[in-house]
């Protein structure tokens, strides 16, 4: 171990440059890894939100992240009542969303989500304090954890959203997902806020989407198809379809990460190969000597592989630490506006380091084999 470090240190500038090359790649990998981890968190929260439900939207609506958001097209609440008559449907809850505050940069938009409270509608989102909305509630709100903090709200306190006062009855657990900045209100309250914000829309019982819960034992995918066929001018999104849409989004991000990893692989790997080939050719006599005094092929192979992997380990650790530094700096900078862009998970920390170590070890394999297979007589003759 100490020998490996001392051998690395023989050519300080060269070792430093090789390490630096990998550090850059690993730094990028760590930072993007942190972003992906945050992304996955949000997607996970989103999946909890869409699980076990069918989303119904106007046939010509735009879809976004697995949820039909209307896009200026609306359904009447009567459609929800019609859907409830479809066999296998437990409940159909009309929903209207109003933006409370636009997203700033990468922050989540604050949304008011108005729906007809139905038991089990948000069963994957835990209420940490207070209770869920119940049928018959009016002027009540359940807040996402971030929004609650922003508003300084507690259960029992009153908050004003879009000039309307609401009594806080519940605050949700932090999901790190989109719902953290959402306010859930009863449908009629939300509708009046929505109509006030959109004065040109005729005052009717309109909904942007309808959330359908199936009766237990009903195949949700089949039910989505049935509803789509039974009710005219609507389009249904089943959980499977919604997940597919979400995955498409994360795939792009994963592809970027993979791309960065490959660049790191090529640049870092090649420079390790180069460094190790030079180390081996400089030390041919030493290798000959070691073999003469009894080192086996395996011993030499391990020594050089160890040196290559050590370059990767040191570079990986440095790159990762720099990445974490950047992440914590950026997170602190955006903290004031309650935005989290990066999440640090075990994978974000250890992934790049392990990756760099294995990468460098693999890159060192060829030079190490070359060293290990040297004929001692020839190696000792070298000047």
């Amino acid at each position: 171990m100490t020998f490996i470090l001392r051998n690395m240190w023989r050519r300080k500038a060269r070792t430093f440059l090789t390490i630096f090359g990998i550090v850059v790649g690993i730094f990028a990998l760590t930072v993007l890894g942190g972003m992906t981890a945050r992304m996955n968190q949000q997607v996970k929260g989103m999946k909890g939100f869409i699980a076990g439900k069918i989303s119904v939207a106007p046939a010509n609506a735009n879809e976004h992240m697995g949820m039909s958001v209307g896009g200026g097209k609306f359904l009447n609440l009567s459609v929800a009542r019609a859907i409830e008559k479809v066999p296998g449907v437990q409940s159909a809850s009309g929903m209207v969303m109003v933006q409370l505050k636009q997203s700033e940069g990468l922050s989540q938009p604050q949304m008011m989500v108005a729906y007809e409270p139905v038991p089990g509608m948000f069963k994957d989102i835990k209420i940490s304090k207070g209770r869920e909305l119940a049928p018959g509630d009016a002027g009540k709100v359940v807040l996402g954890s971030t929004l609650a903090t922003d508003l300084g709200a507690k259960v029992g306190s009153t908050v004003t959203l879009k000039d309307k006062s609401f009594e806080v009855v519940g605050i949700m657990d932090t999901t790190m997902g989109v719902t953290d900045t959402w306010a859930f209100v009863p449908y009629q309250d939300g509708l009046s806020v929505f109509l006030a914000a959109n004065p040109f829309i005729k005052s009717v019982d309109l909904v942007q989407s309808i959330t359908v819960l199936p009766k237990s034992g009903t195949s949700i995918e089949a039910l989505a198809t049935t509803i789509g066929k039974t009710i005219p001018a609507i389009k249904t999104t089943s959980p499977v379809q919604a997940e597919k849409q979400i995955s498409q989004m994360t795939t792009i991000f994963s592809a970027i990460i993979l791309g960065i990893a490959f660049i790191a692989l090529f640049v870092g790997g090649l420079s390790v190969i180069n460094t190790m080939i030079m180390s081996v050719s400089e030390r041919r006599r030493e290798i000959g000597l070691k073999k003469a005094i009894g080192a086996t092929t395996g011993t030499i192979l391990r020594e050089y592989l160890g040196e290559a992997a050590m370059i990767g380990l040191v570079a990986g650790a440095c790159g990762m630490l720099l990445g974490l530094l950047a992440i914590s700096g950026l997170n602190r900078a955006t903290h004031a506006s309650n935005v989290v862009i990066f999440t640090v998970t075990a994978t974000v920390i250890f992934g790049p380091v392990i990756f760099a170590t294995i990468l460098a070890g693999l890159a060192g394999l060829f030079p190490a084999l070359r060293a290990a297979r040297l004929n001692p007589v020839d190696a000792l003759k070298e000047e």
Binding site: L289, K291, I293, G294, T296, T297, T299
Partner: protein
């Protein structure tokens, strides 16, 4: 019993169209505790013979037997084991590892023998004491003179208590004073530790300090006599 015997030992090199019989049917026996030199002009095959005796190279035909063990058909790993356990090498250019201190250089063969660190250090210091370099134990090779470096190399060769120490022109890089000192040291070690030493040299001053001189010419023994 002989430490090393060779029988009909041959090493043939091919350089382009020409075949060179570097070692050409050589029969030799080295007994325990001998202090001998192998002399010959350059190209006489003496270094090739040393490599064959030390299991660094494999013969084209004939046999090398070390402490009763025939080495001709052994695999690389087994040859490495023999070098580790039975042979100590001393080279003209010392071949010390520059990143290691004197004592760490001496420890190196013990590392390959998987001796525990504390035991390794103790034996290495003991070997350095035998060559009179205890006070230089922690110096790096770059801080040592030629004579000192070669003494560290000698300590490294004897630290494993090998059956046979092979020296290839051990004084080739040294001035006369240091040559005499190194030869005296090797002789002392031979006498005190009953160490078997074979020295390859072309320097008569070195050869005359050993007790047996084997002269080689064209890969064959020309003469073999007591000094």
């Amino acid at each position: 019993m002989s430490i090393v015997t060779t029988s009909g030992l041959k090493k043939v090199y091919k350089v382009g169209e020409t075949t060179i019989n570097a070692v050409d049917g050589l029969d030799l026996a080295i007994e325990k505790g001998e202090f001998l030199s192998i002399m010959g002009p350059s190209g006489s095959g003496k270094t090739t013979l040393l490599h064959l005796l030390g299991c660094l190279d494999v013969p084209t035909s004939g046999t090398v037997t070390i402490e009763g063990k025939e080495t001709g058909n052994l695999k690389q790993t087994a040859l490495a084991a023999i070098r580790r356990e039975k042979i100590g090498f001393i080279f003209q250019e010392f071949n010390l590892l520059p990143v290691l201190s004197a004592v760490e250089n001496v420890e190196l063969p013990l590392r390959y023998l998987k001796v525990k660190p504390a035991e390794r250090r103790r034996r290495a210091l003991e070997a350095l004491e035998k060559v009179g370099l205890t006070e230089r134990a922690n110096n790096k090779p770059g801080q040592l003179s030629g004579g000192e470096s070669q003494r560290v190399a000698i300590a490294r060769a004897l630290v494993t208590e090998p059956a046979l120490v092979l020296a290839d022109e051990p004084t080739g890089e040294l001035d006369t004073t240091n040559t005499v000192r190194i030869m005296e040291l090797l002789r002392e070690l031979n006498e005190q530790l009953d160490l078997t030493v074979a020295i390859v040299t072309h320097d008569p001053m070195v050869a005359e300090r050993t007790r047996r001189i084997i002269s080689i010419r064209d890969g064959k023994v020309e003469s073999d006599k007591a000094a």
